[in-house]
């Protein structure tokens, strides 16, 4: 299997897990909900792995999926069990449409972070919908799920507004949504995302030499050192003794220290959040502000005349 399949394999399980949980609770023996989910999963994967790269097919697929979600929802319960099941199936599989941006190495890190985060948000929202009561029994299962999802999101917004206005929030469904399997699989995806940057590289994303990576030698010896070049002995010696790329002698890559510190900071936050959640949030706000101020100071330091291209 290729490297990108391995990479994608680390990101797929979390949204798959949520999809399976929703299917388990709402499919009710019908085939349209799994069909919708598989359609979204299949289309997203086909695009992500480059099997379906033609803009016309991509556009057509997106339009059809949008119609599959939007039209039954517009008709409400009157759309019928089958169509609403298809709609919910596609909706639950929607994260696979952008999941490729989380694992593709040619995408910028910021986009990868946001793609993974939005996949997590969708997963958490679906998990919250599973735990939130929906419409009365008797309605189609798909409609019940959509109602639950709507209620969860509405409650979250209300809770957030309460927090901002200083009153105690009633419920925060997204905050409360928790599934240990989803968290574990999400953690795997997060680690995969972060580890993919850890190999040393330049600002232009060119690999830097290090001991675990077979670094290509400098582009040299384009022409064999022949007598035809009429070089002096000193010039020949300088060429023969020029420095080649070398990697650090340490076992761990430079930059590993930062990873370790980041891991410790996350651990500390988790520890604090489990004991005093409010203090953890306060600490997070303070730490974020301090970090940003520190970075801003580093970047805004005045140039001295001797250094820097802009000098």
């Amino acid at each position: 299997m290729s490297e990108r399949v391995w990479m994608a394999g680390l990101f797929y399980p979390a949204p798959l897990c949520v999809g399976v949980l929703v299917l388990e609770q709402y499919s009710g023996g019908g085939f349209t909900l799994p069909l919708g989910f598989l359609l979204a999963l299949g289309f997203g994967s086909a695009v992500g792995f480059g099997l379906l790269r033609h803009p016309v097919w991509e556009g057509l697929g997106l339009v059809l999926l949008t119609l599959a979600v939007g039209v039954p929802i517009a008709y409400g319960p009157a759309a019928g069990e089958g169509w609403l099941g298809l709609s919910v199936g596609v909706l639950v599989g929607v994260p696979f449409l952008w999941l490729e941006f989380a694992w593709r190495e040619d995408v910028s890190p910021g986009v990868r972070i946001l793609a993974l985060q939005s996949t997590f948000v969708a997963g958490i929202a679906f998990l919250a919908a599973l735990a939130t009561p929906g419409s009365p029994t008797g309605d189609p299962a798909g409609w019940q799920f959509l109602n639950s999802l709507g209620n969860a999101l509405a409650n979250q917004v209300q809770g957030g507004a309460d927090l901002l206005s200083g009153t105690a929030p009633g419920t925060l469904p997204l905050e409360a949504a928790f599934n240990p399997v989803f968290v574990a699989l999400g953690g795997v995806a997060l680690v995969a995302l972060v580890l993919s940057w850890i190999s040393p590289r330049t600002a232009l994303d060119e690999p830097l030499p290090w001991s675990w990576f077979k670094f290509p030698l400098s582009p040299t010896l384009a022409v064999p050192l022949s007598d035809g070049l009429e070089l002096r002995d000193g010039q020949r010696e300088a060429l023969a003794t020029r420095t080649r790329s070398s990697s650090p002698g340490t076992v761990l890559s430079p930059g590993f220290g930062s990873l370790l510190v980041a891991g410790l900071l996350v651990g500390a936050f988790l520890g604090l959040a489990s004991v005093v959640p409010a203090l953890a949030l306060l600490g997070l706000a303070v730490a974020t502000a301090a970090a940003m101020i520190g970075v801003a100071r580093v970047l805004s330091r005045r140039l001295t005349p001797l250094g820097g291209l802009a000098g």
Partner: protein
């Protein structure tokens, strides 16, 4: 201590902006998993950046000692040059370093590399060495060497410029083509044949029958009889000294970069100088636009060749118009013996009266001949008919202006040789043969 600031790379910006966006989403939901992701990312990025800033806090030229060695300062256009730099890190280090010795576009590295990407600890010196082939004549500057300290994760970098610029003069190659292939031999052998011709000189050459157009003062009365009348023919001394007058005005910019009219003129001048030196003639160079840029008095031999080669290498365009009258006046002031002045110019904008300066040259025994490229041939042929017509349309007024210049020179008795730009070498060889034999100029 002098240091440069940390520059955040696009990768670094992307991680921080993405992390902040994800944090915002996390704060809206307050879900722990959705907070962990941005915290992880931001903690990693900020820790790495702050650590990099701290470990390289004094990074700058003061971190290094450097020395250039085995560097070529003068390279022939058909040769190769060499550069070598030893760098030693006296700063704390170690760092991921990118060392780069910037090259002019006119150089092509053929061996070694001007760039090195390596892990660099303070104890080990770094040597950069490479060989390049110049593609263009002129004066070039190599360096300053740039050292970039890279943050290992690519989030940021620092840059230091090491002031070690090096000047390289790329000279044209003086032609050494066999003179015998272009010089017609006379009855007195190669050394004399091209120096003398029948003309308005003072030494007796031979007798021939009188023709109605001959001056009666040339009749050799003692040799003439009733049936035949003879006239004396005198030898005219040719001009073994050559002065190459090279126009470097803005009009010489015509043509694509690297193959402008100026470069054609330099190539032609170098060929002419080479041929003259090979034939043991004295040859000089006057580089002129509206003032003298350089003057090399006529000289011969290998030392002369060296001086001329360097002078040809230094020639560059001037942003001023060409003043031929002034150039000729200054040339005649500097020349002590009758000389053939070979003007390389586009003749695009000849201003002012020329009769006076050209007449003054003749009075002192000098001769002037002009060599001018055909404007259309300075540009490569267009790929399609539309482009070809456009180019033709654009060059038409230029060509008319050049034709006017050619006519003006010819009107004052100056021979003008026009050539197709790619054939400047052949045209110059023909011209050189002509200067030696005083035959018809093609």
């Amino acid at each position: 201590m002098a240091s440069s600031r940390v520059v955040l790379s696009p990768l670094g910006w992307s991680v921080i902006v993405g992390g902040m966006g994800a944090l915002l989403i996390g704060l809206v939901t307050l879900n722990l998993l959705l907070l962990i992701l941005p915290i992880s990312v931001l903690a990693l990025a900020t820790t790495e950046l702050l650590a990099f800033d701290w470990t390289t806090r004094d990074f700058g030229p003061s971190w290094f000692r450097w020395q250039r060695f085995e560097n070529s300062s003068q390279v022939r256009i058909d040769g190769v040059g060499s550069m070598a730099i030893d760098l030693e890190m006296v700063g704390p280090g170690p760092i991921y370093a990118e060392v780069f010795d910037p090259q002019p576009d006119g150089f092509e590295v053929v061996l070694g590399s001007p760039r090195l990407l390596t892990w660099w600890s303070a104890s080990s010196p770094v040597r950069l060495a490479y060989v390049y082939r110049p593609r263009q004549r002129g004066q070039f500057r190599v360096g300053p060497t740039i050292v970039i300290a890279h943050d290992p994760l690519g989030f940021g970098f620092r840059t230091a410029k090491l002031e070690n610029r090096w000047e390289v003069l790329v000279t044209p190659a003086l032609s050494v083509q066999e003179a015998s292939t272009v010089v017609p031999l006379g009855p007195r052998g190669p050394s004399e044949a091209f120096r003398r011709r029948v003309g308005a000189g003072t030494e007796f050459h031979s007798l021939r029958e009188y023709q109605s157009s001959d001056d009666v003062r040339k009749i050799a009365w003692r040799r003439s009889g009733l049936d035949k009348i003879y006239v004396r023919e005198q030898e005219e001394e040719a001009h073994p000294e050559i002065l190459i007058l090279l126009d470097t005005s803005r009009d010489m910019r015509l043509g694509p970069p690297g193959k402008e009219a100026l470069e054609q003129a330099v190539e032609g001048g170098a060929v002419l100088a080479g041929q003259a030196i090979r034939g043991h003639d004295r040859v000089g160079l006057l580089v002129f636009s509206d003032r003298v840029s350089e003057f090399v008095p006529p000289q011969r031999g290998s030392e002369g060749a060296l001086v001329l080669t360097e002078a040809f290498g230094r020639i560059r365009l001037a942003p001023t118009p060409f003043d031929l009258a002034q150039a000729l006046t200054l040339a005649q002031e500097r020349l002590t013996v009758p000389t053939t002045i070979v003007l390389f110019s586009t003749l695009l904008s000849l201003s002012g009266p020329l009769e006076g300066p050209v007449g003054a040259l003749r009075t002192r025994g000098h001769r002037l001949v002009a060599v001018c490229p055909q404007v259309g041939t300075l540009f490569p042929p267009a790929a399609d008919p539309v482009a070809a017509r456009t180019l033709q349309f654009a060059l038409a007024p230029v060509q008319r202006q050049v034709d006017l210049g050619v006519e003006r020179l010819r009107a004052v008795g100056v021979p003008v040789l026009t050539y197709a730009a790619p054939e400047v070498r052949e045209a110059t060889l023909e011209l050189h043969a002509w200067t030696r034999s005083w035959g018809e100029l093609g």
